[in-house]
Subunit: 215 residues, 2 copies
Amino acid sequence: MKKIITISREFGSGGRTIGQKVAEALGYKFYDKEIIDMSAKDSGLSPDFIAKTEQSISSSWLYSLLLGSSYIGGGNSNIPAGTQNPILPLADQVFNAQRRAIIQLAQKEPCVIVGRCADYILKHCEEINANDVLNIFIYAPIEDKVKRSIELKKIETTDAKKEILQIDKRRSNHYNTFTESTWGDRKNYDLLINSSLLGVDETSVMLSEIIKHTK
Amino acid sequence: MKKIITISREFGSGGRTIGQKVAEALGYKFYDKEIIDMSAKDSGLSPDFIAKTEQSISSSWLYSLLLGSSYIGGGNSNIPAGTQNPILPLADQVFNAQRRAIIQLAQKEPCVIVGRCADYILKHCEEINANDVLNIFIYAPIEDKVKRSIELKKIETTDAKKEILQIDKRRSNHYNTFTESTWGDRKNYDLLINSSLLGVDETSVMLSEIIKHTK
């Protein structure tokens, strides 16, 4: 049975809740914001700063890109834990701190990790056996994501659709930049499911069953 | 419970077998080559010719593309059933004949239809309620597809990988041309699954269970 489940998700698809329910059903740990806190301790960056930087490409990052900096592709660079590195763009420092945190958590005990390129990180690190990792992507039609986001008061009703698309665009940019792969492309996941097909609760039950049947 | 299941699949992923097993488990009809025969009768084209044309873009098709023919986008044109139409490229005639056959079959009784852009056709036709349709995509890592294809003697061992990639490239080209969408893109499906995760038999069982839980 797979020990490390990563869940990537479109905003408003219910992917985070599904991750929580799957973790509960399997008796696995659930990680999301916790990673930010761990990363913060490790890097010396504040949790607030990390939260703001992680889903957007910072201007320093873009600047390094324009200059053709050799630090592009944070997923492959492996800077030892410590305080801020003055020559490494902040976006890279945040990514590296999160990368270390994700690997540490995944090594410790069975878990579900939401977002933060965990699928890519854990499939491409020496510390983890790739066979232990199962990668899931949760999505939904835009009209259902709008409805859900408004119901849960995650978003203002004005321009909800535009806002949701922008959030997903940022998630996609972040993933594509750090992994050199494509967010939501089936090749990166073992299973992709439209959460509207069965709803959040039933999807969680089905995913838990599928995970229980894995080797 | 969804009445019309479409299965799109990468070559060697076991998608066709999964479709058969799902149909058996649900007591649904299963359609694959049968569609070719029906299409043939309808269009006056021979089954052999259809089998050869359906997965490749014919030279007449490419010729019409170069000339900017108004017949591009067979999925949207709706030529009445009958004998060959001299001004419509043959690839379009085959697509239209298959389209009509797929719609007729889906109207008749609950079924599983493999390949042939059925997902797109049934989601975009007036005759079928889109809520009755569930679209699944089956894929697998290339090494597993090579192994499976060789085991089932579907392919020669020399250059098996290259051949499989070419077949999928043709499937992709065919889909992308006729649907103006992207083959294997999650937006076109409700569920995409790597058949190597659980294997063909377990995947079939899980998919049948999921379908039983749909509204």
